[in-house]
Every structure is written in structure tokens, then in C-alpha cells.
């Protein structure tokens, strides 16, 4: 009887994701783009919860909204640009890009609907236990490599923005 909730939530989240995504690309001010991006991340976390993957949803909010959005806001604040006309926001190749992207997008979206079974057909229970077992048992080596990658990225980012001391 309460079966309409899942499609209703899915519809709301889809509209929010697509609208916010389009807003990121088309917005007038760059801070509006950054905050709409954070909003997109939150809605995608909602999609993850709808699919039953709540641990991934928590990681999504923790990493993307909590850290990456703040990083991008720092980047926005430290690179102020003089205000300019809206038309100058887009590169000179915009018409070729639209010609290229839109047909492929429509084609892929139509092909995607050939997956007809329900997304939560095989899902039972949460995803915390299978995820934890997989990451720390089957994929323990890629996990360690990922930590080395993070270390390298951290050191690299610090070295890149260090000012040269005379």
C-alpha cells in the first residue's frame, strides 16, 4: 500500500540531481555552481540510501560534501576573477561540444532502459558487512595502495603550492 514511496522518492531525487547538475554547468556565479554541486552530492547520497547502500551514502556525504566541496570553495575564493559578460563563460568550442554530447547522451539514456529488473532485486540487508569483508580481506592490497596514493597526493599538493623561499 505504501509502494508508491520508492518511485516518488526516486523521481524527486532524479529531478534534483539533473537540475542541480545543469545548474553547476550553467550558473552565473561560481559560488552558486559550487553549492549546487554540494546539493548534487547530497542527492546522490539519497539515491545510495534508496538502493540500500547506506555505508556508501555516509562516505559520500563525509568525503564529498564535507571535504571536497570545502576544497573547491577554497579554490574559488583564492582565484577571484574580474566580472565579465555571461557569454564569455563558455569556450570557443561550445557548439561542437553540444553537437557531440547531446546525441550520445540521448542514445545512452535510451539504451539504459533495457535493464528492466528492479534495482533492489538481489539486495538483502545493509551493505556494511559485505563491504567491510571485501575491502579488508579480498582487496586488502588495493586498500594499502590507495593509502599510499593519498599520501603522495597530499605531499604533492603541498609541494605544488609552496612559495619558493629566497
Amino acid at each position: 500500500m505504501l509502494d508508491f514511496i520508492e518511485p516518488a522518492l526516486f523521481a524527486i531525487l532524479t529531478i534534483a540531481i539533473v537540475a542541480a547538475g545543469a545548474g553547476v554547468v550553467l550558473a552565473n556565479r561560481i559560488t552558486t555552481s559550487a553549492l549546487l554541486m554540494a546539493f548534487t552530492f547530497l542527492n546522490i547520497a539519497g539515491m545510495f540510501v534508496l538502493l540500500g547502500a547506506e555505508t556508501i551514502a555516509m562516505f559520500q556525504v563525509l568525503i564529498y560534501v564535507g571535504a571536497i566541496t570545502v576544497l573547491i570553495l577554497y579554490g574559488v575564493m583564492f582565484t577571484p576573477q574580474s566580472p565579465r559578460a555571461y557569454g564569455l563563460f563558455f569556450q570557443t568550442q561550445k557548439y561542437w561540444a553540444a553537437l557531440f554530447v547531446v546525441p550520445i547522451a540521448i542514445f545512452v539514456a535510451l539504451v539504459a532502459f533495457s535493464f528492466r529488473d528492479s534495482a533492489t532485486l538481489g539486495a538483502k540487508g545493509g551493505d556494511l558487512l559485505p563491504l567491510a569483508t571485501s575491502v579488508f580481506r579480498d582487496f586488502a592490497f588495493p586498500f594499502e595502495v590507495a593509502s599510499v596514493l593519498l599520501l603522495a597526493a597530499m605531499v604533492g599538493a603541498i609541494v605544488l603550492v609552496k612559495r619558493d623561499e629566497e
Binding site: 509502494d3 518511485p7 526516486f10 532524479t14 539533473v18 547538475g21 553547476v24 561560481i30 555552481s33 559550487a34 554541486m37 546522490i44 545510495f48 538502493l51 540500500g52 547502500a53 556508501i56 559520500q60 568525503i63 564529498y64 571535504a67 571536497i68 576544497l71 573547491i72 579554490g75 582565484t79 576573477q81 564569455l88 563563460f89 569556450q91 570557443t92 568550442q93 561550445k94 561540444a97 553540444a98 554530447v101 550520445i104 547522451a105 545512452v108 539514456a109 539504459a112 532502459f113 535493464f115 528492466r116 528492479s118 534495482a119 533492489t120 532485486l121 538481489g122 539486495a123 538483502k124 551493505d127 559485505p130 563491504l131 579480498d138 590507495a146 596514493l149 597526493a153 604533492g156 605544488l160
Partner: protein
């Protein structure tokens, strides 16, 4: 009436192509980085949808998503570091203007 898997994949595809359009069309380097993040999120959504559909076998899609989180965070950090260094050289983040490798 549950939501079909194809609907999740279609949303992921639309978001991915919005991100691609952002990378191809916008001039500001920081907005390009934001569009790349949108593309990564779209792939995460597709991977988690497939992984939960076949989760009776295993959840390898979700594990891959964890590694994509790690790589995306590292990439944003280093990408912003590069953008800030370029800005320090010549005060613009316009990718049409950062064209020469020298000065």
C-alpha cells in the same frame, strides 16, 4: 512497483553527460574540476546500482566505489594545487588563456 535498474543507469548517464558538457564548454578551470567531480559521482551511482542488483553474488561494485572516492579526493587536491600555481603565475584561471608553457 519498484524502480527498474535501467532508471538508475539512465540518471547516471544523464549526469555523466552533463559533467562532460561542463568540461568541454566552460572556461573556468575550477568549474571544469567541479564537472569532473559530477562525472565521477555519476559513475559511482551506476556502480552501486549494479552492485546492489547483483549483491547476492558479491558487492565488488561498492568496493570499487570506495576506491573511486579515494582517487577523486586526491585528484581534486592536486588539481586545485595546479590551478592555484598557474594563478600565481598569471592571474587568470581561464583555460583559453593559459596556453603557453612559458610565462
Amino acid at each position: 512497483m519498484a524502480v527498474p535498474l535501467g532508471a538508475f543507469i539512465a540518471v547516471s548517464a544523464v549526469l555523466f553527460f552533463i559533467g562532460t558538457a561542463g568540461v568541454l564548454v566552460r572556461r573556468n578551470a575550477v568549474v571544469i574540476l567541479m564537472s569532473v567531480e559530477l562525472m565521477l559521482n555519476a559513475t559511482n551511482l551506476a556502480l552501486v546500482a549494479f552492485s546492489r542488483r547483483y549483491s547476492s553474488i558479491d558487492e565488488r561494485g561498492s568496493v570499487f566505489v570506495v576506491f573511486i572516492f579515494v582517487v577523486a579526493a586526491a585528484e581534486v587536491a592536486v588539481g586545485l594545487a595546479i590551478v592555484l600555481s598557474a594563478y600565481r603565475n598569471k592571474p587568470t584561471v581561464d583555460v583559453d588563456e593559459i596556453r603557453q608553457l612559458k610565462g
